[in-house]
Amino acid sequence: MDVLKKVPVREQEPLVRAANFDEVCLGYDEAEAVEEAARCLNCKNAQCVKGCPVSIDIPAFVSQIKEEKFEEAYQTISRSSALPAVCGRVCPQESQCEGRCIRGIKGDPVSIGKLERFAADWARSRGITPEAPEQKNGHKVAVIGSGPAGLTCAGDLAKMGYDVTIFEALHEAGGVLIYGIPEFRLPKQEVVAAEVENVKALGVKIETNVVIGQSVTIDELMEKEGFEAVFIGSGAGLPRFMGIPGEQALGVFSANEYLTRNNLMKAFLEGYDTPIKAGKKVIVVGGGNVAMDAARTAKRLGAEVHIVYRRSEAELPARVEEVHHAKEEGILFDLLQNPTEILVDEDGRVRGARVIRMELGEPDESGRRSPVEVPGSEYEIEADTVIMSLGTSPNPLISSTTSGLDTNRRKCIVASEEDGATSKAGVFAGGDAVTGAATVILAMGAGKAAAKGIDNYLKNTRTGS
């Protein structure tokens, strides 16, 4: 065995999985996990922990796996993370923990993500749940949104003894984990619902079908329903469109709509009522995780799929693993290209797109080289479906209905990075609602920081006044 190489993880064959919605990655078994864990150098000054937004004690849980103390490994992770089975599957490990692993300097880094997933799956399949909270302190906190930020904040507050209620607009808890990320990457029932149950087991109540700002406002929650503090983890759900001609045509969808129909509403399963127009030839515009998910979903629904992205492969913002999987499954990448118009037939349906070639110029504010159009390089491609995956911004529903809550020019709620405090006393915020679309683990990190912030705030208001 070459210690410079990681233990390969088993996956469904690309051609098989491109036609089903079962999970792509099958994960490690016990022997594989122990072997991979043994590659860890157990560094004294562990860099990996510094790369983890929720500071999981990585060397500790990895050596517990090495010693076959799987339950202990799970409890170690659970102390820092409410959603280990989720993070093990969707975190961009290459730019976080694994990106800093000393093993990675010469060879493959330790597969920390796959080991985390192993520990979480091992515990779940044996019905092991996180350690129960201390006594209740009777103070009520409301959490808005049940995505990673909300679930983490709620879980941490419950562990401190708070009486926490999560209000969720949709009919199911989980945020993007339920409506956005597809089944083949993150099984809904098995993984997401189970992790949500674990949060509930800590005493957190979840009220679905409540849209804050519509059903009830934050001010009313605080004044009439007795909540002493509020955490806003409402995400960044508002889809962007390009503003090019033809975008209103039949067959143009936001990635959110396409994915929601398929994931939350389960359009891909026989017996569910929600329809989806799968498309035969699909163009997905964008290069992030969302674009990869939309493309791979369309592929599984039987379409030929092109990803049209205006920069080059190096700038694709998606996780490396997703791009790799997408290519294996036969998704075609039309890089350095950008649509300028959606072509529409006489019935108002999409018949294709006019696309222009791009080249990379100077780096822009994001540090990536900005694409510039190549004059005269326009051409037409055929398609019956176009999925826009251009990013999302926070929904103004909450900010526009809460008195004294400041937002910035990108409609994001202004909140302290340290403790999530906003411009309104007692109201905290974190996750995509504050940062704009980012990652699961950053949202969890913000939820965690805000839980501490809320605890401090409530302790101070109690003793201070």
Partner: protein, 292 residues
């Protein structure tokens, strides 16, 4: 769960239900809507709020069978429950935010088409309760399909009923009825039209001609109803609007109805197929003209 406390058949394929949903009933206002989901496998179906009882904590909805999901909904009985019922969604009718004194100076007309009568009713009732007069034109294909006539008569100042086939009241559409009233010299300075998109389109063509500002309530395809998916987007003026958060009410003279009507048909064949499967089971194998 959200139990059904009352179920009534109003006309062929048109049903009324009262549903217990205290959070929705507490703050809802005329013009807003809810999204209901029957059970695990059901669709999310948007429906305008037709009435509400804050003390009982109930919401009244009225719906017509138009596809497989509404067909399934009609099968629910009193005592059954919706798995999900979320709201109130969208903005309240802009009349609700106007000063009563200002409203009293206006001649207001409502034009209701078909099942659109149901969402018109709470607005007329609200005005009536605030001492504001308004006239109502109620249109339906025929006498059998008229709903809520008596309730409307109680709250409207003048009620005009029109049927397409002339089986009751004025012979013709609601739009034609307005034209007739206008020709008789009756003038309005504000109009609210709610009904099928095609009807709202024709009302707007006429009221634009007559110079009557007109508000319409749009009912495009929706999924979440919170602004997350963009399925409900419409062109209003030159702007893209999301009906679920920016609406459902818009200035009817600015709405691009032709495009909205096309977008509404986006899933037609899929829905048609689901409906036939429901009615005919697996015996349906195409050839009916509804399948592509």
């Amino acid at each position: 769960m959200y139990p059904i406390t009352k179920r009534e058949k109003l006309a062929d394929k048109i049903y009324l239900m009262d549903v217990k949903a205290p959070r929705v009933a507490r703050y809802c206002e005329p013009g807003q809507f809810v999204i209901v989901k029957i059970d695990e496998t059901g669709e999310r179906i948007p429906l305008t709020i037709c009435d509400y009882d804050r003390t009982e904590g109930t919401i009244t909805i009225v719906f017509q069978i138009v596809g497989a999901s509404t067909e399934r909904m009609a099968g629910l009985k009193e005592g059954d429950a919706f798995q999900d019922f979320v709201g109130p969604l969208g903005c309240a009718s802009d009349l609700v935010h106007k000063e009563t004194e200002e409203l009293k100076k206006k001649k207001i007309l409502f034009i209701a088409g078909g099942v659109g009568t149901a969402p018109v009713y709470p607005q007329v009732k609200w005005l009536h309760e605030h001492g504001v007069d308004c006239d109502v034109i109620m249109g339906a294909r025929n006498k059998e399909l008229l709903i809520l006539e008596d309730a409307m008569r109680d709250v409207a100042t003048n009620l005009y009923v029109a049927t397409d086939d002339g089986s009751y009241g004025f012979h013709g559409t609601g739009t034609a009825q307005l034209k007739e009233l206008y020709d008789k010299g009756i003038r309005y300075d504000h109009c609210v039209a709610i009904g099928p998109m095609i009807m709202m389109k024709f009302v707007c063509i006429l009221t634009k001609e007559l110079g009557i500002p007109t508000i319409v309530s749009m009912n495009p395809i929706m999924v979440d109803g919170t602004g997350m998916c963009g399925a409900c987007r419409l062109l209003v003026g030159d702007e893209v609007k999301f009906a679920c958060v920016d609406g459902p009410e818009f200035d009817g003279h600015l709405v691009d109805f032709d495009q909205a009507i096309k977008r509404q048909s986006q899933y037609k064949t899929e829905e048609g197929r689901a409906m036939l499967k429901l009615q005919e089971g697996d015996t349906h194998h195409g050839g009916c003209g509804n399948c592509e």
